[in-house]
Symmetry: C2
Subunit: 175 residues, 2 copies
Amino acid sequence: MGRKAKDFDEEQILFENYLRSAGLRRTEQRDLILRTFLDVGDHITSEDLYRLVSEKDPTVGLTTVYRTLKLLTTAGLAQEVRFGDNKTYYEKLHSDEHHDHMICTSCGLVIEFYSPDIEALQDEMAASFGFEATHHSLRLWGYCAKCKGSAGKLTNAPPGAEPRVRVKSGRTVVR
Amino acid sequence: MGRKAKDFDEEQILFENYLRSAGLRRTEQRDLILRTFLDVGDHITSEDLYRLVSEKDPTVGLTTVYRTLKLLTTAGLAQEVRFGDNKTYYEKLHSDEHHDHMICTSCGLVIEFYSPDIEALQDEMAASFGFEATHHSLRLWGYCAKCKGSAGKLTNAPPGAEPRVRVKSGRTVVR
DNA sequence: TTGATTGCAAAGCATTTGCATGCTA
DNA sequence: TAGCATGCAAATGCTTTGCAATCAA
């Protein structure tokens, strides 16, 4: 909701074209999963998307969500991301723009950012190795403005305790 | 082999200091695992390191390797890396220098590179969000010079087939 | 002595696969 | 119809945990 129907159509069509060209079939499940996925603001796991899809159609299986998300990735409509909590997230892939992430290891906040300068340097770097980059991923971990210096930083963990990355469920996204 | 004893000592001491400060104990297993890990040129999985350690002392368990690698990560001597084959690799962390990766999705080649300019831009970017970055990861996927344009690119996969990242075991590292 | 460490087996988790049934093209 | 897609249950594969025995400090 809040999205123009036109946007959906565009991605819907891209997906249809992909399916057709790959000799695959269009199904109600795939349509529903794609629509639900497009409605999600930021990153989402297969499991969570499955929950959302279930609300609309409880008969759709988790396996199908997994498979469809992989399909969308291959179709170029989605991209896998990992933040360090051992889960695979998927986010919409906009052919035009790209963004990277900063992940707060204290509160789990995820900040999306974009730097044309960094992108340019990456291309330059790749070229110098004769490497043809198709996609990339840049993540910065650390402490967000709020957690920086605050008590949340080391909490009551013993000195030297394992500062493992743990992405909270209440993760928010800043753009 | 090929390493100066001095180098080992340096890391050994860092580890000892870490253990002491964290109230943990130094054991033969941990020493052996650290030494074996330092001897490895590039990235290695817990499983593979376990195999190497086993050659020297077959009584050491896989669990201990897993635990020690996590310990080394916390101690700042190792870092986790993922290339897309769903495995966790560990690589030595040099406090002074840092490097990023280009991964060939066709042959599995991993190229390590370093760009002070990119690093600088990252810091700049983080600062602009009031973010204090502790570490980061930049990976570029694509085709290396050898695979680029060559037959290996699409092989005999059907059009639209899933171009999954698959890091070959015969992975090499270029520095 | 005391509590950290180890190794084994068992448990966990996210993800994938086998297969009979259902449906698209 | 043909054969791709689905959903379920079972299987995977990597990683972690429980626990009794062992060992460092």
